[in-house]
């Protein structure tokens, strides 16, 4: 390096050593919630030091790869060596709002879709500002400069400077309003699979998850909720926890050694102690009476019959019509053949491997949270009234999420941690036991769907009527979005289905049950793909058509979906018979579904042994998710989405008696194991469309692909999940 560079480098780095480039990209949409609140709508932040580039990631990393894919977008345009890129989690700040969701939130497969343009623009703008800085130092025209692999160069004078050395001055250059983006044919990162940035810390146990947060003076808390859902705390008798005479001196709190406080919460009791095990064992020694409330008599049978009964409602005020074109009732009434079926799907738990956890430090002047969450912003709204603080006094630090699948959209564990810290005046780390996690989830709603299909004399589909009855999620999370009390969101995946149907009537009936419900990987798409893709298969069987080829005839006008279907038919060797096995029957099932902007088709191959055992041998998936930023991350997400959905379809079911969840841990809320996992092949469709959601989109097709395969193998049509509830022995 020339002496001039060393000089300039010293000048630039004199201040802080690591300098921050901020970007104001005024041409990007500013969410309504931000309008007026912040004059600086910064869309991406980049921190540079002499040897690393830290990209601030404003989406929670829960396994879906945002700590890799979002930095790739910045790095591609910035032109830096991937080895020098680091990912850093953003704090809660309005500038990090997700423009597609209106707040700092991770979900709905929006992370790449919302970041694809702005993050590349941020990288491109930064590169131009670095060049502008070099042009000023060297007093040369911008056009004579190159900026590549983290170095700005001036060939005529043989000078070079690292991005890091230029960062400070670059941050003071005007922000180019419309930086040109690279021609996609010159991309060196997008479309390849550079190593994930989060893996190295995770494999050696050094990544900080919610349960790993360490603070000086930290206390630990365990919690026990009212076993009846919706019930509240009555009386606490903690006399068994009182210190014995010999321990009195060591115990300023009056409790046995280690126990600091017993804290009543609205629907739970918590113990704060010096270690989690002390807190957890103390909980077991407290006698609690609960106010069981309205759900005390709730059972799975009563829930199922309430939902099933509502299928036949004629009360037009109870029915939300989502799609009505043609006259489906009339077409079905005049049909030569009618195929009708009712599909029952259970409540499901999320059960990410890391149980619910949060750490909070509450003082008179502020509350700081460290927690794994998909929704940082909710805490700035929910906590101030509970703590007597202002929204600006709430700080949210996001740890890695040990899985989520929608569970960590909820606020419960974070609020509890804050209330506990406030109660004891010290930082508290709350960790739920697995039993509390399984029993106090916001469950994937159970649903009952009736699908009626009319065919004409030539076996053409002429009418399709589809009704889903289920408890509403919106009624709790966004009641303002209900229309006349109806939740029309529960038809997701039905209203935009691709099949050519001349007459279509889709409606939903809301039946709240008292069971708390929430979004589970892919939301309502999981319920609706099962009923739709089961029915297509039933129609094919009724008219003696191949279910893959019947779908083809219904998709001729939808080339993108047809392309996905054709590819899965080819890759799965759909038209070739399966090799037989002795002692069992083999079958293959197909399902496809469009969700979060992506189209996914899956073929499952199963063996059903004569003794009733089921083995899922292989799953072939084809995905069109638009432009693929990181092929290996997409494949891993689809693999994961398939196995998550398969686990649920095989054994997943939360059941109730006396208002209480009957399952409690992985022995009865079973999760798929390695030995049970099929081989998975994932094929990606090449596309130049904008990237769309992946980690959710892979889940909906697997349950119907599985039951369609079981039908193919055995002739048994499973209309009620999970599969484990059925006897598959050869008759």
């Amino acid at each position: 390096m020339s002496p001039l560079i060393n000089l300039s480098r010293r000048a630039v780095l004199k201040g802080s050593g690591a300098l921050i480039l901020g970007f104001h990209l005024p041409f990007l949409p500013v969410p309504a919630a931000m309008a007026g609140s912040s004059p600086m709508a910064i869309n991406a932040w980049l921190k540079m030091s002499s040897d690393t580039v830290a990209v601030i990631v404003a989406r929670s990393e829960m396994g879906q790869g945002v700590f890799t894919t979002l930095p790739m977008l910045v790095a591609e345009e910035l032109d830096v060596d991937w080895q020098t890129v680091r990912a850093e989690m953003a704090p809660l700040d309005p500038v990090y709002a997700n423009p597609l969701l209106g707040s700092m939130k991770t979900g709905n497969g929006t992370s790449l879709a919302s970041g694809f343009l702005p993050l590349r623009q941020a990288g491109a703008a930064a590169r131009l500002m670095l060049m502008a800085a070099a042009a000023r130092i060297w007093r040369v025209p911008l056009t004579e400069l190159t900026a590549t692999a983290g170095v700005v160069g001036h060939a005529p004078s043989d000078r070079q400077a690292s991005y890091g050395a230029l960062a400070g001055l670059a941050g003071r250059q005007p922000v180019p309003p419309d930086p040109p983006l690279r021609d996609p044919t010159t991309w060196t990162l997008i479309g390849r699979s550079p190593p994930r940035l989060d893996s190295p810390a995770k494999v050696i146990g050094q990544a900080t998850f919610g349960v790993d947060v360490r603070l000086p003076n930290l206390l630990h808390a365990a919690i026990r909720h009212c076993p009846v859902l919706g019930g509240t705390l009555g009386k606490i008798d903690d006399s068994a926890l009182k210190a014995k005479a010999k321990d009195k001196e060591r115990s300023p709190t009056g409790y046995r050694p280690g126990v600091i406080a017993v804290v009543p919460l609205t629907n739970a009791v918590a113990v704060v102690a010096e270690s989690w095990w002390q807190a957890q064992t103390a909980l077991a020694d407290i006698a609690v009476s609960w106010n069981e409330g309205a759900n005390a008599d709730l059972t799975s049978a009563s829930l199922d019959s309430a939902l099933t009964k509502a299928l036949d409602t004629t009360d037009s005020h109870a029915i939300a019509i989502a799609v009505s074109h043609g006259d489906a009732d009339h077409a079905i009434a005049g049909a030569a053949r009618v195929v009708e079926a009712v599909y029952h799907q259970p409540f499901l738990a999320h059960a990410p491997l890391e149980p619910m956890s949060a750490t909070a430090s509450v003082t008179a002047t502020g509350c700081t949270l460290w927690l794994p969450t998909q929704d940082q912003e909710q805490y700035a709204k929910l906590l101030p009234p509970l703590l007597g603080l202002k929204p600006s006094q709430i700080t949210v630090n996001t740890t890695f999420l040990g899985g989520s699948f929608g569970r960590r959209l909820e606020s419960d564990f974070g609020i509890q941690a804050a209330l506990l810290s406030k109660a004891v005046g010290r930082p508290v780390r709350l960790v739920w036991s697995r039993e509390e996690d399984i029993r106090h989830d916001f469950y994937r709603p159970a649903s009952v769907s009736r699908v009626t299909v009319g065919l004409d004399a030539a076996d053409r589909l002429i009418g399709w009527r589809h009704r889903i009855v289920a408890p509403s999620i919106l009624a709790r999370v966004d009641p303002g979005a209900l229309k006349n009390g109806l939740d029309s969101a529960m038809i997701a995946g039905l209203d935009d289905q691709s099949y050519a149907l001349p007459a279509l009537l889709i409606d939903s009936v809301r039946r709240d049950t008292g069971v708390p419900v929430g979004f589970w990987r892919s939301g309502w798409h999981s319920n609706n793909a099962f009923s739709t893709e089961s029915m297509i298969d039933e129609v094919a069987a009724a008219i003696g058509r191949d279910p893959g080829h019947l779908r083809r005839t219904l998709l001729t006008d939808v080339p993108r979906t047809l392309g996905v279907l054709d590819l899965v038919i080819a890759r799965a060797h759909w038209d070739r018979p399966l090799a037989p096995v002795t002692g069992g029957r083999r079958g293959r099932g197909l399902a496809l579904h469009q969700a979060f902007g992506s189209v996914v088709a899956e073929v499952a191959e199963v063996t059903v042994f004569d003794d009733g055992r089921l083995r899922v041998d292989r799953v072939v998936a084809v995905v069109d998710c638009g432009l693929v930023v990181h092929p290996d991350v997409v494949k891993s997400q689809i693999e994961g989405a398939i196995l998550f959905g398969l686990s649920a379809a095989l054994t997943g079911e939360i059941t109730f008696d006396k208002g209480q969840v009957l399952q409690s841990n992985f022995h009865d809320a079973k999760a798929l194991t390695l030995a049970e996992a099929p081989t998975i092949e994932v094929y990606l469709v090449e596309s130049r469309e904008a990237p769309s959601g992946v980690s959710d989109a892979g889940t909906p097709p697997i349950a119907p692909a599985l039951t369609n395969a079981i039908f193919d193998a055995t002739g048994q049509r499973l209309r009620r999940l999970p599969v484990a509830d059925h006897d598959l022995r050869a008759q």
Binding site: W277, E354, A641, L643, N665, H667, A671
Partner: protein
């Protein structure tokens, strides 16, 4: 009061004798690479090596381990490492990264330890060996990659010689 050997160092603890090893590691010693997933011995997130066997730390008490050699993920990798850099654990960790196994990554430390224990006993496991030995849960569904990573780590081991244990105990037959 119990004295245990953790990552090659003696540790004297005053926690109650029936405290599971997991909570000694996580809360007292701040060795948080050992994860809590179920507390019931099912998920394997808390797997550690006890005398070179994969043991679920949530299901053994501190008092039962007085004479045992305990190795956590921190003892296999990173600054607290008690093994040679070219050890079996390094191969397994490298394979986990090469196959891009982790999604959320919460299961990874426990699975890596379970794999080290498997490969120490069975340096070249078949798929059936893997199915039988690796019962840890991964809710993100990384199983196909876990299998590939185990085979990859195994193929990096010498065909004939046995993997060395860090404490000089011969591998079980």
């Amino acid at each position: 009061m119990v004295t245990l050997t953790i990552n090659g160092r003696p540790v004297t603890t005053t926690v109650a004798n029936d405290t599971p090893l997991l909570w000694l590691l996580r809360d007292q010693l701040e060795l948080t690479g050992t994860k809590f997933g179920c507390g019931s011995g099912i998920c394997g997130a808390c797997t550690v090596l006890v005398n070179d066997e994969a043991i679920r730390a949530c299901s053994v008490t501190v008092a039962s381990l007085a004479d045992a050699q305990i190795v956590t993920i921190e003892g296999l990798a990173g600054e607290g490492r008690v093994q040679q850099p070219d050890s079996l654990a390094e191969q397994v960790i490298a394979a986990w990264i090469a196959e891009q196994v982790p999604q959320c990554g919460y299961c990874a430390p426990g699975l890596i330890i379970a794999t080290v224990a498997l490969l120490r006993r069975t340096p070249h496991p078949s798929d059936d060996d893997i199915d039988a030995a690796i019962t840890n849960l991964c809710r993100c569904g990384t199983y196909p990659r876990i299998r590939k990573a185990i085979h990859r780590a195994a193929s990096a081991l010498p065909q004939s010689s046995h993997a060395q244990s860090p404490h000089g105990t011969p591998p079980a037959p």
